[in-house]
């Protein structure tokens, strides 16, 4: 039996196009997977995280003008930026908004001596060791990683925390370095010549391009 009878001539075209279609489909699939894994859905960026008390950074930072270090007190001295003890909240809230329902968990925490349990937003894997102190000391602003916290009613993850994202800066720190005294300035705007400023600061502060594994993994 002749095969041309089973497959009419038009199948020649279909066969050729099916190859193209398969490649295109595979490409689309790969692109889709790439987009999906880098989507906000997977990376969890931009999703505000519910907290036991709906603490608004926007209110406290923008409206009241409280400095980051009022609550994150060890950010300049320790690897851990520090979370305020209940006592810090109550220094003000024993005087103002004393009876709001919203602050009931804070009052309860102080009354019972039971610590608050805040949900972690920036959750690095356990095999990554990050140190706030050295980044602050070398002129990396809070907003470079944490975003415009002063405009967040509830804090959301601002960056995906991929290793690639860390390395972007570690390879070219001049793109983000700012004068040390402006690290905590939430209104800071990058100058037009950020690269020029960055290069100057890199040499002035002795910023090294640390990309060795042991910098973060131990």
């Amino acid at each position: 039996m002749n095969s041309s009878r089973v497959f009419p001539p038009c199948f020649n075209a279909i066969a050729r196009w099916s190859i193209v279609a398969a490649i295109a489909l595979a490409g689309a699939g790969a692109w889709g997977w790439y987009r999906f894994t880098r989507s906000e859905f997977v990376e969890l960026t931009g999703y505000p995280v519910e907290q036991p008390v709906q603490f608004s950074h926007m209110h406290h930072v923008s409206r009241l003008g409280i400095d980051c270090r009022m609550c994150h007190a060890s950010v300049e001295t320790s690897s851990f930026a520090g979370m305020p003890p209940t006592y810090t909240c109550m220094t003000c809230h024993s005087q103002i908004w004393r009876n709001t329902a919203m602050l009931a968990p804070i009052r309860e925490s102080l009354d019972l001596g039971r610590p608050m349990q805040w949900r972690r937003v920036y959750d690095l894997p356990r095999f990554v060791y990050f140190d706030h102190r050295i980044h602050v000391a070398k002129g990396i602003g809070c907003a470079s990683c944490h975003g415009a916290v002063d405009r967040m009613p509830l804090v959301a993850l601002n960056q995906p925390l991929h290793m690639r994202w860390c390395l972007d800066c570690h390879r070219r720190p001049e793109r983000f370095a700012r004068p040390k005294e402006l690290v905590f300035d939430m209104k800071y705007k990058e100058p037009a010549d950020q690269i020029g400023l960055g290069r100057r600061l890199v040499s002035e502060y002795g910023i090294r391009k640390l990309t060795d594994c042991s910098v973060c993994h131990r």
């Binding site: 060890s74 001295t77 320790s78 690897s79 851990f80 520090g82 979370m83 305020p84 003890p85 209940t86 006592y87 810090t88 925490s109 102080l110 001596g113 039971r114 610590p115 608050m116 349990q117 805040w118 949900r119 972690r120 959750d123 894997p125 356990r126 095999f127 060791y129 140190d131 102190r133 050295i134 000391a137 070398k138 502060y205 002795g206 090294r208 060795d212 594994c213 042991s214 910098v215 993994h217 131990r218």
Partner: protein
């Protein structure tokens, strides 16, 4: 599949069928894909309610305190991570530590967090309350005027406060008694009583001696002064910086010990042989002519160094031998120079009286404080029966042990790291114990128990200790002085003045007659001590020096003795002494004395805990009150059957290569560079295809001086504590799967043991890096060979290509991730590894990085000596030195220029950063190089 006892992880039993294998593999593959997609579980940040002063979250602090072993204190600086003690370092200002530690101090951190620690007060085996207990004790104390029938039993106590409390209690209750039973105690006090007519404690000063004779004294591996003694002895043996003077150490012992391995001359003699040697040496020093040549040679050496020599009697020798040694030191003019004597702390009366009273039913209340008499007393004591005749028996201890289960009451005891207290060191220096953590359980301190006997229910140990020291030091400026003592970790000038005793009478010199049968030699175990550390997995899995056994003890004997008895390794033998019979596996130890069998205490415990239960055999039944440490007339017979023993000696061997290098002082003086000139050890001459790296920043390196290494294992356990290294259990060790990053190889040069610590040597041209398919092991700019756990897929190619065999693979989930208390113990700076990843020594990269961040933030270089590794910090003899080769002032740089330095397998051109200094020995030319 089955469950591994130690790791709670599934393991494959032998003989999985091919079909089952494929099923499991298929399922794993399918699950592996899904498993990669999980998110991290949500995590909380839990701040303080009120933050304590002086605590910065994320920063560590160090506190000075004291850890006790058999009552004696050793100073420690304990790292506190947010209120959790996580690592113990030595305290440079404490005389028994001098900045270093022994292995027990390192392992104390695991005992603190041991999930098996007793957590509840027990009354007749059920849960009781402190109030019930206190009311019982007060009722009893009131109902027994003068303390009639109330007895206290303890181990050794040096705590000045506790001794004062007990003395006050005895003064108030003249009919009460305090008894003491310390299973690790030798005949030191009995020996001084015989020699000087009073009980004294000898304190040795090896730095003041040029010739030292050890008569069965393992002063480097045992006893409360071992760290200081190691520092002193090795200080007189270092040939660095052009110095070529060494002290000389002779050692006679039955069971090879680390002191014997360090000695320049060693003789294997049975216990009675050592006593004979003592008599011969004494006779030779007093002009006796009828002695063997070698004894005459030692005597001549001692006589040539009068006033700068030392004869050290082992604590386990009988009192007459001790007296002989003291007499010899007196003859040589060493008393008051290389050996001084101090008054010992007050002791309780003998436990025999207590046993008699218990047998007669005269004891109404027996309080056993921090001791375990039900297990450590000889069988002739009949303790198990006599305790039943005591209506109110109280055991206070860290564990629900053998004594707890036969007592009416059990009270959990505070660990040293949870307590306020004080202790004296081997030289009498007092220091304070301060708590590093709130008590984990409802435990009680011995100070509270004794206060309760006096009717004080609300005693607080902090106040008790302060009151005692306030009464001693006076009111003037007390607060400042107290703060100073806590800060220093030692109380200056608190050691008692040395006394100058005179020999009470002529010491008998008749040598004991030679023994015909087999002798018994009893020793403390080198890692679990007298059994109190039996539930400490770090110490169980720490290879014992010399034998390299783990998780077991054995009946140790020489090859000749084993041949005579017709037994081989692991065969069970029956040891019979009087009415006692013990079955133990035989183990042949090269260098063991013929005609005697050594057993070690501390194993075979029925109530040690999950870790220690049923490990090894119990040798306590072979002891008697009269001869607890050696006895004649042991009968040994094959018992049939075997017990597999896990020995780490042959694991990770670098076969067929001569590695540890050794030379005599004479050879070294003639040609210091002889070892380095050896082509096998000569690095960097062969051309390399790999690009030459320039390390311009820090070039971290480690020097290991084999002359200084005494093989004490402090570094091995320190590494385990610092780096969250898991234990694997006996079954896994039998497969060669122990996880220690640092091991101590026993290398044998001319039948002499040379200890060679070996971790990753951090090759500049690392063979492991070339074969890793995923780049999980790479170099950093300092020249460290890194292990990136999160990249590792577990091919194990790196380990196969490592010529030093220093890489360890997590075949199973060895780290216990479930026990809550163990989570508190882990070093938060080091990743806790999971199954399936390779790991190895990192040169404590977490410490380097911490220092680097400190330095970078301050805009300076890392200072000289700012970083050291856990092993180097723990080393009593400073055999391990870590530092920066690019730092002109670093000690490691100076050592690198020493002529007798060499690289291990240097001819492979791996350019390791760890280098060794060849061992130098100082044998007596009159005795020749060979050992008798």
């Amino acid at each position: 599949m089955g469950k591994n006892k130690h790791t709670h992880e599934s393991v494959w039993d032998e003989g999985v069928s091919r079909r089952r294998f494929l099923q499991i593999m298929g399922a794993s593959l399918a699950l592996a894909g899904v498993g990669g997609c999980t998110r991290q579980p949500p995590e909380s940040i839990v701040p303080y309610v009120t933050q304590p002063e002086n605590i910065t979250p994320g920063k560590v602090k160090y506190y000075a305190t004291t850890l006790t072993l058999a009552g004696y204190g050793r100073g420690a600086l304990v790292r506190s991570d947010m209120g959790r003690p996580t690592k113990i370092e030595g305290n440079p200002r404490h005389p028994a530590s001098l900045g270093a530690t022994d292995l027990f101090m390192q392992a104390d951190i695991l005992t603190l967090y041991d999930p098996d620690r007793s957590q509840n007060l027990l009354r007749k085996g059920g849960i009781g309350t402190w109030e019930q207990f206190a009311s019982m004790l007060i009722r009893e104390a009131q109902g027994r005027p003068g303390g009639r029938g109330i007895r206290l039993l303890t181990g050794h106590i040096t705590s000045p406060t506790l001794l004062e409390q007990i003395a006050a209690w005895l003064r108030a209750n003249p009919e009460a008694r305090w008894h003491e039973h310390e299973p690790s105690e030798g005949f030191e006090r009995a020996g001084t009583k015989l020699a000087f007519g009073r009980e004294l404690e000898p304190v040795y000063h090896f730095d003041r001696a040029d010739v030292i004779v050890s008569l069965d004294a393992d002063f480097l591996g045992e006893g409360p002064g071992m760290v200081a003694y190691g520092r002193q002895l090795i200080g007189g043996r270092l040939v660095r910086g052009g110095r070529n003077r060494m002290n000389r150490l002779y050692c006679a012992e039955a069971m090879p010990s680390i002191t014997g391995a360090t000695a320049d001359h060693r003789w294997a003699l049975s216990p009675s042989g050592i006593e004979r040697l003592a008599a011969q040496l004494h006779s030779a020093l007093n002009g006796g002519a009828d002695v063997p040549d070698r004894v005459r040679a030692i005597a001549a050496d001692l006589n040539a160094n009068r006033g700068r020599s030392l004869v050290v009697p082992g604590p386990r020798l009988g009192a007459p031998a001790h007296a002989l040694a003291h007499a010899m030191n007196a003859t040589l003019g060493n008393n008051g120079a290389a050996v001084t004597f101090i008054e010992p702390p007050a002791g309780g009366t003998d436990v025999m009286d207590l046993l008699d009273e218990m047998g007669r039913g005269e004891v109404g209340v027996l309080i056993m404080l921090g001791c375990n008499p039900a297990w450590t007393l000889p069988p002739e004591a009949g303790f198990g029966e006599k305790i039943r005749k005591v209506p109110q028996s109280v055991h206070v201890g860290l564990y629900r042990d053998e004594t707890a289960v036969v007592s009416q009451w059990h009270v959990p005891m505070r660990h040293d790291l949870e307590s306020w207290g004080d202790a004296r060191a081997y030289d009498g220096t007092a220091s304070l114990i301060q708590p590093l953590i709130e008590p984990l359980y409802a435990s009680r301190s011995p100070h509270e128990i004794v206060a309760l006997l006096m009717g004080d229910t609300g005693a607080r140990p902090y106040e008790t200790v302060r009151r005692h020291w306030r009464s001693l030091a006076g009111e003037a400026d007390f607060e400042a002085r107290w703060e100073g003592w806590l800060n220093e970790g030692a109380i200056a000038n608190s050691a008692p003045r040395p006394v100058a005793p005179t020999l009470a009478r002529k010491i008998g010199t008749e040598a004991p007659p030679p023994q015909s049968g087999i002798e018994l030699n009893v020793r403390l175990d080198p890692t679990v001590f007298d059994g109190r550390y039996a539930n400490n997995a770090w110490l169980q899995e720490c290879p014992k020096p010399i034998t390299k056994l783990v998780w077991d003890n054995a009946a140790f004997m020489s090859e000749a003795t084993a041949g005579k008895l017709g037994v081989e390794n692991e065969q069970l033998v029956e040891l019979k002494l009087g009415p006692s019979i013990v079955r133990a596996p035989a183990w042949i130890v090269p260098g063991h004395a013929d005609g005697c069998v050594t057993v070690t205490l501390g194993y075979g415990r029925p109530w040690a805990g999950v870790v220690g239960n049923r490990a090894g055999y119990d040798a306590y039944p072979l002891r008697t009150f009269e001869r607890p440490w050696s006895a004649a007339g042991l009968s040994v017979a094959r018992a049939g059957g075997r017990r597999r023993l896990a020995c780490a000696q042959e694991h990770h061997r670098l076969d067929g290569r001569r590695l540890a290098r050794e030379q005599t002082l004479e050879e070294f003086t003639k040609n210091p560079a002889r070892v380095a000139a050896d082509e096998l050890m000569n690095p960097g001459h062969a051309p390399s295809l790999l690009p030459k790296d320039a390390y311009t920043g820090n070039a971290w390196a480690m020097a290991i001086d084999l002359t200084a290494c005494i093989g004490c294992n402090a570094c091995v356990v320190a590494c385990q504590a610092e780096n969250n290294v898991p234990v694997t259990g006996k079954e896994q060790v039998l497969r060669g799967r122990e996880m220690h990053w640092l091991r101590i190889d026993n290398d044998s040069v001319d039948d002499e043991i040379v200890f060679q610590p070996l971790g990753c040597v951090h090759c500049e041209k690392a063979p492991c890096e070339l074969v890793c398919p995923v780049g999980a092991t790479v170099h950093d700019e300092d020249g460290l060979n890194l292990m990136v756990y999160n990249r590792c897929v577990g091919t194990r190619y790196c380990s196969n290509n490592c010529p030093y065999k220093v890489r360890r693979f997590n075949f199973l989930q060895y780290t216990d991730k479930e026990s809550e208390s163990l989570k508190l113990m882990r070093n938060p700076d080091v990743t806790v590894r999971n199954r399936g990843v390779m790991e190895k020594c990192t040169y404590c990269v977490q410490r380097i990085r911490r220092a680097r961040i400190e330095a970078d933030a301050a805009g300076r270089r890392i200072a000289t000596g700012e970083v050291t590794t856990a092993c180097a910090a723990a080393c009593p003899t400073r055999a391990i030195v870590f530092g920066d080769l690019n730092d002109a002032r670093s000690e490691v740089g100076a050592l690198k220029r020493e002529p007798h330095g060499y690289s291990l397998l240097g001819h492979l051109n791996t350019m390791p950063r760890t280098f060794y200094l060849a061992r130098v020995r100082n044998p007596n030319p009159a005795l020749g190089k060979t050992k008798a």
